[in-house]
Structures are given as C-alpha cells and as structure tokens.
Amino acid sequence: MTTRMLGAPVLRTEDPRLLRGEGRYLDDLGQGAYEVAIVRSPHAHARVLDIDVTGALDVDGVVAVYTYEDLPPRLRERLPVLIPHPALTAARTQHVLAAGEVNHVGEAVAMVVARDRYLAEDAANRIHVAYEPLPAVVGHERAASGQLLVHDDIPGNLAATLTQEIGDAPGRIAAAPNRLTFRLDIDRSASTPMETRGVHARWDADDQRLRVHSSTQTPTSVRAVVASYLELPLAQVECVAPDIGGGFGVKIVHPWPEELLVPWAARLLGHEVKFTEDRREHFISANHERGQVQFIDVGFDDDGRILGLDVRLLHDHGAYIPYGLIVPIITSTQLLGPYRITDYRVRFDSLYTNTVPVSPYRGAGRPQGCFAMERTMDRIARHLGLDRTLVRERNLIRPDEMPYDFGLTFQDGRPYAYDSGDFPASLAKLRELADWDGFPARRAAAEAAGRLLGIGMAAYVEGTGVGPYEGGHVQVETTGKVKVATGLSTQGQGHRTAFAQVVADALGVPFEDVEVVTGDTRRFAYAVGTFASRAAVMSGNAIHLAALKVREKALRIASEALEVDVEDLELVDGHVRVVGSPATSIPLGVLATMSNPLRYAFDASARIATQFASPGTTDRPPVAAGESPGLEGTDFYSPLRSTFANGMHAVEVEVDPETSDVRILRYSVVHDCGTLINPMIVEGQIMGGVAQGVGGALYEEMAYDEHGQLLNASFMDFLMPYASEVPAVAVDHLETPSPLNPLGIKGAGEAGVIPGSAALASAIEDAVGVGIDAMPLSPSRLHALRVAADHR
C-alpha cells in the first residue's frame, strides 16, 4: 500500500530551492527593466499646490516623470473600495497619484521612471512639490472628536458605525450581581514581510499581451483590476505571483497605486518597468493594522459566568478605507472566542486619521478582540478571587452544543456559527502542557530567590476558510507525473508540499511525482487569494475534489481496457491494478495517453497504450459526448460558511523587579485546526504566529507624533522581535475535524498570532500585580505603571 500522506510531517519540497538561494522574488525579475521611484508626501495632511519636475528631467538616465495630470482618465479615478458594506456610508480611497491633497505621510505624489533605481531616486529628490500643510488628525480621540477633519466632506471623520446585538446586553448587565467597566488600548503594528511590495510589468508587442508579476496574495484579482483600469481585455493580461517573501495580509490589498502605474508605464514606454518598494517606503506606504480603543462593560454572576457584555470600539482605519470594514467586523464577532455569551452588544466607529491606511494583518482584528475578551475574563477572575482557568471553563461552549450559532453575522455575510471544537478538552490539555497547577510552587521558589514570575493564558476561536471559492486542476501527464495548479498564491505556507500530499492520497501516486503550481493566472484563472487562513481549506479541498475526478476517470478507462469492474480496481503506486491480482495493472501515465485518442507513438507510454486501444468501437466517436481528452480534472470548492479553528496559549514570564524587563520562560500552545495535512507545517505556522504575537505584545508599535510623522519607520526603531526574543514553543494538537468540508480541515495560518497580547498581558499582570490595559508593553511603560501603582 502507498503510505497515507495526509497527516504526515513531510519535509517541505519548497525548502531546498529557497535555502540554496534559488528563489525568484520580484526584484530578481526584470534585470533589464526600467525602475521606478515614487515621490511621497512628507506631510500627514496638505494641499498640493504645485509640482515642479524640471530638475528631475535633467538627470541623465531618467525616462519619464508622471504626476496626476499626466494620467489617462480611467487612472485618474480613485482606487476601488474592494469590499463595500451597507454601513460603510462614507468610504474614501486614494488616487494612484495625489490629486491636489495628501492625507498621510508616504502617500504617492509623483512617479519617476529611470534606467535604475539609483537614478530614479536622484531624480525624485529633485522634484519640488509645493505643499500647503493642513492640521493632522492623529489618534482615536482626536479623530472621534471631529474637530479637525481628514476629509472635508466626511463629518466626524466617521466612515461607518455598525452595531451588532444578540439578546439584551444592557438589561442583563444592569441586573447582574457584578459589573465591571474599563478601557483597553492596542497600538498599531504591521505585516512587515521580509520582502516588501513590488511589481514588474512587460508589454509584449508581438503577442499584444501584458504580463504582470506582482508580490501579491491575489494574482487573479490583480489581473482583473489591471485589465479594468488599463482598459484591456482580460485575455490580454496575465498575472503571476513569483516566490513571495511573506505577505501576512498586507499584500492582499490591491491594486496598490504602483500595481496600476507600473503596467501602464510599461505599455506606454514599450519597455519593462519594475517597482521594488524599499523598507522606509514600506513603513509609510504599505498598510498597517491593530490600533483600537475598546470600552468594555460586563455583567456576571458570582461564579464568573458572563451574563451580558457590551463593547464599544473606536477603530482607526487611517487615511483611506480600501478594504472596507473587515477588520472591525472580525473584532466585533471573533471577540466572543470560545465562550457562550447570549447577551451581547458591540458597536464600532471606523474613523479616518491622517496616517497610513489599515487593512488586515495576520489575525485581522482577532488579536484585538481576543485582548478584549481575555482581559475581561482575567478581570472577572480577579474581582471574584477565582482561578483564571476556572472562570474560563465555566463560560466555555460545550462540545454537545456544536454547531453553535450565535445569531451574529460574520465577515463573509454568513451566520457566525461554530462548526466544531472541544473547548473544555483544549483547556484541560493546556493546563497540563503548561503545568498550570504547578505554577504556584514555581513562583514561590522564584520569589525566595528574589525573582518575579507570572503565568497567563488566552483562548481564541478563528473563523477560517472563508469563501466564496477556490479551484484546482489536476493533470496526469503521459510520463505519469501529476501536475497540479491552483489560482491562489503562496507566501511561504508550504502549499506545494501540502497540496501534493492531498493529491498523492487521492490518486495513489508517489508524493514525489506531484508538482504544484500556485498563483499563475496562465495556469489557473479563477481564484480568490491567500488570506484569512483559507488556502488549505479552500484550495486543499478543491484540489482534492479535482483529483477525485481524475481518479474516477482513470479507473473508468482502466476498467474498459482491462474489462474489469471499477469496484475491482485500486490505485496504488501510480498504477491502476486489479484488487488481488497486482500483476494486472496499468501505469497512470499510460492511462493518460489512452485518454487522448490522438497518440502518435513517439514515446514508450504511447507504445504501451496501443495494446489497450479499444477494439472496433465504431459506434461512438473517439471523444464521446460529455467527455474530454486528457487525464485531467478541474473542480471547485465553495463552502456554505466558514469553518472555525480554535486554540489556547499559556505563557510564563519573569519580570526583572528593578528594570521591569520581561523575559518569556515558557510558551505553550494547544491548537485545533481539524484534520492536519502536515503537522510540521502547522507547527511552523503556529511558531511564526507566536513570534508575531510576541512582537505585538512587547515590541511593535507605530510611533506617530501629533503631526502624523512616523518616528520609527525602520527596523532599527520598529522592534520586530529577533529569534533571540521569541521563546521556544511547546505545541499540542487537538483534531476535531470540520464537518463542513471533505477533508475535515480548518485553517491554521493566523492562529498563532491571535492570543499573544492577551496571554502576555495576563502573565505580566500576574507577575507584577498591576493591571495591564494597553499593549504593547515596553519596560519603560511597565516601569511607569508600577511606579504609579506604588504612589497610589
């Protein structure tokens, strides 16, 4: 028997190539391309009075300089609001180049095309833009006050306000024996992938086709939007996502101004053009996330059961809102986590500020929601003097309540209903993995040595695998090798390995014989993209279904050739063979040849196939109605609704009593993403997520000053944690398969990051005995909190 691949910790087939430096990232392409530099606004808010480009034109090697005035009409339109929503009543997006006004530092104002990036930057520095600075709106409070406006015609800086409600939260809270109200703050962070944004375009005058390479999480949509804004037939545009050095959400946004400007210039100039964003640009012109102020009002009984929860969110979405309300909607719903809360009201205001726009970054609003819920649980425990795990335990949804429908609407517009999970079992596993019950002894021993320890935990539920669909194409070539394509892109997830595992099982072929291509519209034209922890669920199942079609066809052809019933055939080691008579078999490659009636015998496979040519079938055409040549299949997977993964983290910290420096001693994760395709890849995803969670909790913030200048726009001052700051992670899995899809899988991509801030706040608070209401928490801030508490 072929070994079952699903669930095996197979080494990633991607890695040897990437580790040898043979990856081809965006900037590796187009070595002869003209390069682009963008003139960006130094002001957070200003009117653009005049742009004088004459100095730039004198720079040797400059090919062209473009401002808004140079653009064709279609490119003068604002960028699209990708995801409209009825509540989004005042949506505003940017122009590809500023049209008279800039609204954040870093907004694109002019574009230089030159022989190389050095010259392009030289020229960009010689473009003089006359600005009339306007007051900047920075921070939730200033935005909410509405005294100063980001956009003159949007009062209150309010893009949207949305309330979701189940039961009677205010009534239950008012009647509850216990009530707490408090405020929480979470600062901004950002995806900051190792590879920044980039786009390369080539207009092929012979083929009359535009080929766009973009470091994107959604090549099919980039293709469509480029065709639309450049007014080209879709058939003349192709888009490929090459190797991508991380996305984490920021590359799902499209089109970036450069994604339209570069293809437009390439076609206009008849020459390859490339834009590779540099790190400073990335900080000020690629989107951020997180950033929320939360007001919590909770009522609960004397056992710690939540009776009513009322939450108000101020969500700072920056200068524009191209990605709609996805982030605050996710916060609003996913805030509830694994808890049975029947009376809930959540309201958010999505506010404009003169800062970089906000769109999903790994976790996409969930870390904020988890922070709100888990800080609430800790406060309830503290108020009642109960163990923090006990309070959570009492509020958990039980497995026999699954599927659990809250009665809310999720980000995909579908019911917010959990399909599977065993939260009490997860909590029991976590307590064991983290040795929660042994902590008091550890703390006492440390205290005796003058050391300060604390432990904390946080739980989350993550909606994954949002629709509407993904597709897969599986083809057995006449060599017996299997070629697989899916439209979504890959940013390091190991799709080529995981999807090959799925196909190897479905077709009974060796894993090594399966090759997967992602993110190339020439190979698969319909796709949504790689975000929202959806690739394994969506493309994994679509590829599985496509492979089953191929399997069915292979068995059918073999059945005719061998004159054996399909039920008596099996697919093993790349052959269809007769059960119980393994000597009677046909290689899949031969079946592929047989599937195509045109088979000149130019290879061994074709010569063998002729032995099985159907004898004298003159009563039907070579390709029967409804049939197609080739041993291949395409299928799509489209779920009714999202599937919900879940997990819990516990973290143990040591706080230096004198310096307030925090060290992580132990980090434990219990994770349930249903059926595991490749546990090693899932654990890698979790560890990467934990690293970003630690970053958001202790290190990363966007330090805007009151004028909207980002003070830490470099990796020297934006403190993404190094390997030296990220703890070893102990992972335990629980597998409660999703009933919603054939493979039973749930997404795993974002999980690790979600509870980081909540768990670390819990642990630090436990160590120092001072309430933690805001993240990230630097030693300086923790010191100030402790000093203030001492003086109280």
């Binding site: 020297m716 403190l719 300086s780």
Partner: protein, 293 residues
Amino acid sequence: MKPPPFAYHAPRSVEEALTLLAALDGAKVLAGGQSLVPLLNMRLAEPAALIDIGRIPGLDVLEVADGHVRIGAGVTHERLRRDDAVAAVQPLLRRALDLVAHPVIRNRGTTVGSVVHADPAAEMPAVVALLGGTLEVASVRGRRSIEAADLVRGPLESDVAPDELALELRVPVAAPGTGSAFVELSRRHGDYALAGVATEVAVDGGRIVGARATFIGVGTGTAVLDLSPAVAGRDAADLDVVDVAAAVAGFVEPQDDVHADAAYRRHLAGVLAGRAVRAAAADALARAGAGVR
C-alpha cells in the same frame, strides 16, 4: 534607500589615502561601513567621495605591547572580541563587544571606526573614554595623538579632522587590582541599549578604593562619573546593596524617545550602574585570586 552619487577611491597606502583626503572636498573614510552605508542609503549623508581604506596594508595590527592594546583601523569588532591575548589583559573590550550588534555587523564593523563615529549610543566610545588611551591620526599635515578624554566632542562628532585618517587606537591594559564590567539593557539582543554602563573598579585589600563609570544612551556623552564617593571603602565581596542611584541620577541627562521615557532611563542607569559596580568588584577579586596582577 539607494545612495546618491559619490566618487569611490581605494588607495593602496596610507600616504595615498592622506593625499586624497587633503585633495578632495567632502570625502569620507569608509572602513567597515556599518554606520556610514546606512546613512548613505537613507541619504542622511551625501559625501562627494568615499575613501575605502580596506585595501591599505598595515592597518590590521592587533597586539599587546608596552602596556597597551594596539588596535589598527582595519581591525573588526569581531576580531578584537575573539582575541584571547587582548581579553586576558583588558577584559572590558570583549565584555563590551559581546553587546555590540550582531555577528554579521561585528564581522565588518571596525572598532576604530566606531570610536571615530562617536555615536553616543555605541559601546566602544564609552569604553575608550573610561579606560583612557590614545587615538593615532595622520594627515598630510603630520601625525598626532588624541587623548581619549579629548576624542569625542559631541554626538557623532569626534576630534578627528576631515582630512585626517585614524590609524590606530591604543587602550591601556587593566591595572592590577582592577575589575571591569559592561552592563546594558537593550530591547532586542544586539540593539542600541536603552541605557548602558561601563565600569572599572579598583580594589585593594578586599576593599573598593575607586570606581568610575561611563554611560551610553543617557545623554552623558563620554563624560566619566567617579563613583568612588558612593562605594569607596566597601567590602568588595559584600555589595548586595549598592546605592549609586542617587549619584547616577544626578549625572545622567536622558531624553524621551520612542523606546523609553527619560524617567525610566534615569532609573535604569542607576540600577545598571549598581549591577556593574558589583560585577566589576567581583571581577577584580576574581582576577586578584587568579593571580592576575
């Protein structure tokens, strides 16, 4: 993040380098490039010419001679850090270099370059200010020695003139009875410290007879704080409680920035100075016990 145009020269001798430095306006010396190249890429520095001293023979001297550690302008942080003979006679160099950035940066960055760059957040200028010594510099006008105390004029400003080339740093070996320590707190491993302190403590007969400190990241430049009034006469083996915080708090002049506020930095400098004094005293006792005189 691409540098503006500059002329590039790679002289093969000190004389050739000095001639270029004298002849070219706005030229900068390029050694390891770990500070200069980022400044170029961010266009915060726009020198007309770079004079790369990496191909000049003879700048790689690293030896202990005449009571000093001689460190040539071409010696990288990492080479200095790994040198056991140097660590034996002046352990503070290695202790500080352990905290300088990361291996990839130490493999290129030079210690002399760091001292001349005079970054108030960098470890090595503070070490040199504490230990004393001289920097040998040359120009077509001649050679001279700059005393450690005169080396740094202000943030990012050293006494080395635009037409001068630093050739060699000479740091005295540790005196008998002394111990040293470098203690800092950085947000991430290898980052510039929120605050840091280099300390040398002299011990005689088991009692502290002198203690001095320099700081990084707290606005003191390369000024030396004499901590002797706070700790002289104390038993070097019994320093569980060291109260230097008041002396340090009155000395440092930290500022708020995105990483920490001034109050925290002032507090931190006091805490770290206490730890450094304890560690340096223990070092002095250990070296005495090991027969290092």
